[in-house]
Amino acid sequence: MGIYLPIAEMSVNLFVLLAMGAAVGFLSGMFGVGGGFLITPLLIFYNIPPAIAVATGANQVIASSFSGALAHFKRGTIDFKLGTVLLLGGIFGSTFGVWVFKLLRQLGQLDLFVSLLYVGLLGTVGALMLVESVNALRAARKGDTTGLRRPGQHNWIHKLPLKMRFRASKLFVSVIPVLVLGAAIGFLASIMGVGGGFIMVPAMIYLLKVPTNVVIGTSLFQIIFTSAYTTIIHSATNHTVDVVLAVALMVGGVAGAQYGAKAGQKLRGEQLRALLALLVLAVAIRLALDLFVRPPNIYSLSPLVVL
């Protein structure tokens, strides 16, 4: 069944969108990620203009993050204070990101930049995760368990000034790295159309030493606001949010997420992480191919963008 996307100005198949949303929802439920890093590339492979894929991806992320954050709110595993400081940074990063987005669109380098960011970040995160989870799987086979968090171990980040206490996270840390991390995620969110959970979660665990149990809830909490802000700014400056596309993806995603969550419970943590790592690497490789393989047509058309 065809459906016309009013902002993208094209007809697409509704079932493909629902299936895409459901598949990504399944994976996001299984791995506890927002799924933005999958949805945006999938939309681009499906010939949705990258500018619209990115802005709409940010909109779609809100639904899955909100759904997830509600569960964490109920369990009390959100550090609101930490989330708010991250969010402050996120707003700066996102505003800057939307501006860079428009500039790149005008220069005709947006697609390249988005692809490079995806390949670089997904490649790095995927490879690190794969190494970590394979080591964990090996260790599990030998029988010893090592936690992700090693308390008492401090790094240079904990020597910075302007320290602030975050009670829920049992953390006493400078606000500078928190703001910088928030800004970096906000920047990525607006350029890549992702929530940024796949970077936020490891960064909080390894750099800030936030306890694992509050990491995901807090990350989701701040992703809701960063993505919401990104969506609004994109909509106001670039007019690239396609709400029909977003709703189709969200409906599929929300339904897929519950089955994913059930499937996820049957697997162990390190197995899940290894699978997620493989998935992330696969997306990175697919995008890298487009960068390095000669395109079928070296010419392309784009509307004139005036800054």
């Binding site: 065809g2 459906i3 016309y4 009013p6 902002i7 100005e9 094209m10 007809s11 439920g29 909109n59 779609q60 809100i62 639904a63 899955s64 993050s65 909100f66 759904s67 509600l70 569960a71 109920k74 005709g108 380098q109 697609d111 390249l112 490079l116 809701i224 919401a228 969506t231 609004i232 994109h234 909509s235 106001a236 400056t237 007019h239 949010v241 709400v243 029909v244 977003a246 709703v247 969200m250 409906v251 995603g253 929300v254 339904a255 997420a257 519950q258 969550a261 960068l291 390095f292 393989v293 000669r294 395109p295 047509n297 070296i298 010419y299 392309s300 058309l301 784009s302 509307p303 004139l304």
Partner: protein, 282 residues
Amino acid sequence: MAARQTGLATALLLLGCLAAGAQAQQPGAAVPAAPAEPAPQQVPAAIVESIQIGLSTDRISITSDFSGADLTIFGALDNADPLINRQGRYDVIVVLEGPMRPIVVRKKERVLGVWINTDSETFVSAPASYSVATTRALQDITDQNNFRQLALGTDNIYIAPLDRTGDPVKIDEFEAALRGLKRTSGLYSENISGVQFLTQSLFRASLRLAPNVPVGTHKARAFLFKNGIFVKESSAQLAIQKAGFEQTLFRFANTNGFAYGVISVLLAIVIGWLGRVIFRRD
């Protein structure tokens, strides 16, 4: 003889119909701004043929299930010479030209192994879509020079570069790429023998509207050739727009982007919340 021909002019049939997909709004608003060329009061000594086309509607709405459509335009010849007509020496070319838009053509080159947009050319106005229907292959109707003078056919539309003083070789290269890309996407199309004479004076042209046909004011034009010589042109306007809901959304997104963004966010939150209520995981 002459009287019979003026009779034909008044019996001019202006019809149009639209198949598949697109819904014609205001079907009652028939015989629109189909313009011009009032039938001459007195037929002059030398017979001058003229051509008329008409659309049953001046507005096509693209609904949410739009997947392209076939547009049929009817038209008639006035004062057609029966002898020439019998020999098949009248040719008609019907064009539906989309709104003019500025467009950028970019070219990729391999830099350090990566394909990067390195060069571009901006064109200030190129028709967003252009479909042609003809009675015969273009080269059989008249010669290339005539087409170029009339800017007729996907190869001959005039596309103005922003930088008129630029390198003409480069402009030609990018212009050719523009035409090629538009053809590949179905936006520029030629339908050879898409125009058929139903009677000696009445003809029907079938044009293809691509699924991604641009919205805006389109111009339908009909060109009449006699023995390879251009005789007359006639035109009519056609507005292609998004249907109610799509149009409202599009306009809202473009005029009030901030509020549109806020609503998109609220919608996402409601769906996320509903998802949590309906599919509770814990």
